[in-house]
């Protein structure tokens, strides 16, 4: 088995090979074991400093990255746009270079602009991990989603996964499509016509507008949030109507011919894309996804850190 990632940065799943993803999973298995020990910490990254740059709001991803870094014994500095000089007109490169001159080895960045992580990785010396760039990619989310499917169903190869909701504005959807396809799963997207990109079938995914049909087809349903903050125009008449057509309820779930797994990348809008009794049901693996998030991010950071030159 290959024991090195083929990439220097994690800017998107698109750049990874299947071997890379499998290596990350294998390493994450071990970290999952580590974070369930009485002492949930290993000393591997004692001499590494990581900056978490969040130019966009986040709770889960940021906490998850920070925990992952701390459990690898890295030094961590945090930065969020709300309280920074970005508001005073500083450019991205200037902000990052200032932070790097404080001897930072790795940057974890979330940014509202698609391509921001790739842009940065081509211009700075530190390793870059994309924690979400606009509507483009969110690679660690896709990795933890696929890792959770592998854990729940034994493998990803041959499984049928439907991604339901706001595909148009979702970086989670795009990264998931790449990741699941590389691992040999079949992917379908489901949602109102206005929220499905017109040419998405070119990626090799099925498109379905009827939620029941999609659910009858799949082994796993990944329910996405409606990203109202990214919607500059109205894409559907009302949230209530969306919820009636595309909300996953216990009645639909129980009427399916087989027991499917339900996922959600969070944050959940209970009563919109998913009802409370579904989110809390035993078919839901939402909290496992969060736990796996830390292990998968530890694996990504560990494998990228292995490529940092020693000064």
């Amino acid at each position: 088995m290959n024991n090195n990632l083929s990439v220097e940065h994690l800017t998107g799943i698109k750049d990874l090979t299947r071997q890379d993803i499998e290596l990350i999973f294998k390493t994450a298995d071990n970290f999952k074991d580590v974070i369930n020990r009485p002492i949930k910490k290993v000393p591997s990254l004692r001499d590494i400093t990581i900056a978490n740059l969040f130019f966009e709001n986040s709770t889960r991803t940021r906490l998850s990255f920070e925990l992952a870094e701390k459990r690898l014994s890295a030094d961590v500095v945090n930065f969020s746009a709300a309280s920074s000089s970005v508001k005073k007109g500083e450019t991205l490169i200037d902000t990052v270079n200032n932070i790097l001159s404080m001897k930072v080895d790795m940057v974890v960045m979330r940014h509202p602009n698609p391509g921001a992580a790739k842009f940065l990785s081509e211009r700075i010396g530190a390793k870059v991990v994309n924690a979400g760039d606009g509507t483009h990619e969110h690679p660690t989310q896709a990795l933890l989603d696929a890792f959770s499917i592998r854990e729940a169903l034994g493998e990803v190869e041959g499984k049928k996964v439907v991604i339901v909701g706001d595909i148009l504005h979702s970086r989670v959807a795009l990264s998931n499509i790449y990741c699941l396809q590389k691992l040999g799963a079949e992917v379908m997207v489901c949602g109102p016509t206005t929220l499905i990109p017109k040419y998405i079938h070119e990626l090799g995914v099925k498109v379905e507008h009827n939620l029941r049909k999609a659910l009858e087809w799949c082994d796993v349903a990944n329910m996405l949030r409606i990203q109202l903050e990214r919607q500059d125009i109205k894409y559907f008449p009302s949230l209530r109507e969306y919820s009636m057509q595309y909300g996953l309820t216990k009645e639909i779930l129980d009427s399916l011919p087989k027991e499917i797994k339900v996922m959600h990348p969070g944050p959940i809008n209970r009563g919109v894309e998913i009802t409370s009794d579904v989110a809390d049901s035993k078919q839901s693996i939402i909290l496992q996804q969060v736990e796996n998030g830390v292990a998968v991010r530890m694996a990504v950071i560990y494998l990228l850190a292995a490529k940092i030159e020693r000064h």
Binding site: N30, D33, R310
Partner: protein
């Protein structure tokens, strides 16, 4: 490479047996002692010692495996892969006597990492070290074994390999010496 068998299969078996009796001398019926094999090759030693001990004692002996990858001191300093193996310690080690088990004791760095990794599981009452082969005078750290199968004097350029019936087809310990022109 010149090959020299320093422990053949007959002596191999005797050595394992002797180590078991030495362990029993110190730990009686193993009611408060566990064996932990270091990944990857210490696990083979533990498996063999466990089955031998259980034969002699007529009861189960608690054994685990410990991977030390994330505790190594050469992360980012080696070209070699640092990909982990499985850790499996499904018992509490707090206040237990722990015998760490490895196949070859050489620089002592693996054991140093092993002690670190072990402490993440709790505070054992006592930790001892068992090694099948001790390459003495080659230590980088002040670490010694409590139970030794075979002591050998070696050069840095030499290599000691422990082979197993289950994996390589025969139980033996081989010393590989590079021929003079290879040195």
């Amino acid at each position: 490479m010149e090959k020299q068998v320093i422990l053949n299969s007959r002596h191999f078996e005797l050595t394992i047996k002797r180590l078991c009796y030495e362990l029993i001398e110190q730990h009686n019926d193993f009611s408060n002692t566990v064996l932990i094999g270091l990944q990857p090759r210490g696990v083979n030693v533990v498996t063999r010692i466990k089955s031998q001990l259980e034969q002699i004692l007529g009861k189960e002996v608690l054994c685990g495996t410990l991977d030390i990858t994330f505790y190594r001191d050469d992360f980012r300093r080696t070209e070699k892969p640092l990909i982990p193996s499985v850790t499996n310690i499904d018992f509490v080690i707090e206040n237990k006597k722990v015998v760490l088990v490895d196949d070859v004791l050489y620089t002592g760095r693996t054991i140093r990492s092993g002690l670190d990794a072990l402490l993440a599981f709790g505070r054992p009452q006592k930790v001892e070290l068992l090694t099948l082969v001790d390459r003495r005078f080659r230590r980088d750290l002040p670490i010694q074994a409590d139970y030794i199968g075979k002591t050998v004097d070696t050069l840095v350029s030499e290599r000691v390999s422990v082979e197993w019936k289950e994996i390589e087809g025969e139980d033996k310990v081989v010393l590989y010496t590079p021929e003079s022109n290879e040195q």
